[in-house]
């Protein structure tokens, strides 16, 4: 009745990392989720969630967070897609320049980049000077503390994370496939939408999932660009733990963000597998 299963020797190699992540990552998160479902000692209790969803202020913040994340993802995808193709086709110095442009911001870090953008967005900053110089604006446009600025800055900061996965897929695209499409009578447009786009989809999904999950949970960027006025979920979570000492609220919000993040991870990897992008 009991089958004798030979435990693959290699499985043991994975044990250290699994144990580590299990104890220090999965368990604490599970505990947090558990905590969010217990109010004043009773379990299960949805009081925390009820409190969160019952308040318009909170709902606004949730909606704003999601909206910003979607806009950031959309904007960076729009810009990243052609850039990935250009990068794949570039050689020599040009390729180096583009790669450096992708990797240097990553290497420099979020704090430095966001700080740099906050300088640019200032009323007396470079962007306003350019807009006025070009005659597009008569007086300094208020950029800091606007959602638009946040979306632009975040899309810019997360852009490499969108470009690189798409670039990885485009690089492996067999040019013969596009040639085959052409010889079969497909116009360049038809070939693009019916051959190139479907085959780059795994990269797009990976990049979008990455950027969306980072955008939904970003803290440093909104703190510096929009501040208290238009908070995001992450900012409110930080406040609730560090200043408001409202752990109930904090844990409910954390759980919500966690569920969103997990859904994105699972959904995107399932989608990528279905699209056949599982191999690299």
């Amino acid at each position: 009745m009991t089958a004798i299963r030979r435990i693959d020797g290699f499985a043991w190699l994975a044990a250290p990392a699994l144990v580590y992540l299990g104890v220090l990552y999965a368990v604490p998160l599970a505990l947090l989720l558990f905590k969010s479902l217990s109010t004043a000692g009773t379990f299960p209790s949805f009081a925390g969630y009820a409190e969160f969803f019952g308040d318009d202020f909170h709902l606004n913040i949730l909606w704003r967070t999601l909206r910003v994340a979607l806009l950031v993802t959309g904007l960076s995808l729009l810009v990243a897609y052609p850039t990935a193709f250009v990068l794949a086709r570039a050689r020599g110095v040009v390729q180096t320049i583009i790669l450096v442009a992708m990797v240097l911001p990553l290497a420099v870090g979020v704090v430095v980049k966001t700080f740099a953008w906050s300088i640019l967005f200032r009323s007396d900053g470079l962007l306003n000077k350019m807009l006025m110089g070009l005659g597009i604006a008569d007086e300094p446009v208020r950029m800091l503390f606007t959602e638009t600025a946040l979306v632009i800055a975040a899309a810019n900061i997360f852009l490499p994370f969108m470009v690189l996965p798409i670039y990885a897929v485009v690089r492996q695209l067999d040019p013969r496939l596009v040639e085959a499409a052409a010889t079969l009578g497909a116009t360049p447009l038809h070939a693009f939408f019916r051959v190139v786009v479907p085959l780059t989809l795994p990269g797009v999904v990976a990049g979008a999932a990455f950027v969306f999950s980072m955008a939904v949970s970003m803290y440093v960027i909104p703190s510096l660009i929009v501040g208290e006025r238009s908070q995001t979920m992450a900012m409110l979570i930080a406040r609730s733990y560090l200043f408001l000492r409202d752990e109930q609220l904090g844990s409910s919000m954390s759980a919500i963000l966690l569920v969103i993040a997990v859904a994105v991870v699972l959904g995107s990897s399932a989608l990528i597998r279905r699209l056949g992008g599982g191999r690299t």
Binding site: F10, Y20, L87, V110, I119, M214, S217
Partner: protein
């Protein structure tokens, strides 16, 4: 090439050029601002000056913060390299069920809200009475750095030709020797690349760290945001410029030994 293709190509190049400008622009601006003589960020600077660099030594806690961040980055990266490599080997060479799940699990921290992971970790540590900030930070940063190692090593191992190890064994090396002399050197670029990115990710991390620091242990990003709140002057631009230079050096090292293209896969 048809007209449509030509137009599309031109448009793509324009977008890419704009992207490059917008990705590097803010960094250039920061460097320029760091040399301003005024205490506000106006551009162009009224006069060039090194005063903000000079004041770096006066900044309280800066040196300690830098040193702390470096320590944590080095130690957590080292640990991640060990844990991540073994896990990656298991996933690529093993034949057990759930391999892909393990890979996804190990890489997932990248997509989790850092803040939430930080809070969860803090509460877990508190629950078992563990209060040492320094160790907590290192343990937490392994979670951040591990995904970089696993991802890069998975790709490198999948590309590695394992018949080389068979060849080494038929030439007289034992299995452990073959692994040491053939596999490790073959993975060296992957170690370097993932180590560099892991190091930088740890240096840059704010969300997890904010919950685990205490009065005496503040990492660099936390210190920087503190400066920004207390005294927003171009000193921050000077610090940032320092980090930019560091990043450039790291990139130069990486591209010399591994090649920029290989660094991004």
């Amino acid at each position: 090439m048809t007209a449509v293709e030509k137009a599309a190509r031109l448009a793509s190049w324009l977008v890419a050029a704009t992207v490059v400008v917008f990705l590097l622009g803010p960094l250039v601006v920061t460097v320029v601002v760091s040399f301003t003589s005024s205490s506000i960020y106006t551009l162009p600077p009224p006069e060039w000056s090194l005063r903000w660099y000079a004041s770096l030594s006066q900044k309280s806690g800066l040196a300690e913060a830098v040193w702390l961040s470096v320590q944590i980055a080095l130690l957590s990266t080292a640990l991640a390299l060990v844990l991540g490599t073994t896990a990656a080997i298991a996933v690529v060479r093993g034949r057990f069920a759930g391999r892909e799940a393990i890979a996804t699990f190990a890489v997932s921290p990248l997509m989790m809200p850092g803040l939430v992971v930080g809070v969860a970790l803090l509460q877990a540590f508190r629950a078992v009475g563990f209060r040492d900030a320094w160790t907590s930070l290192i343990l937490a940063h392994v979670i951040i750095t591990l995904p970089f190692v696993v991802r890069t090593l998975l790709a490198a191992l999948e590309r590695f030709d394992f018949t080389l190890i068979d060849a080494a064994r038929t030439l007289g090396l034992s299995y452990p020797q073959a692994v040491l002399k053939v596999l490790m050197p073959g993975l060296a670029p992957a170690f370097l690349t993932s180590g560099l990115f892991a190091f930088l990710a740890s240096m840059d991390n704010y969300p997890i760290s904010i919950f685990l620091t205490d009065a005496r242990n503040k990492t660099l990003p936390i210190k920087m945001l503190q400066y920004l709140e207390e005294q927003p002057d171009p000193t921050l631009a000077a610090i940032s410029t320092g980090l930019i230079v560091l990043a450039l050096i790291v990139l130069a090292v990486g591209s010399r030994s591994v090649g920029l293209n290989r660094m991004v896969h």
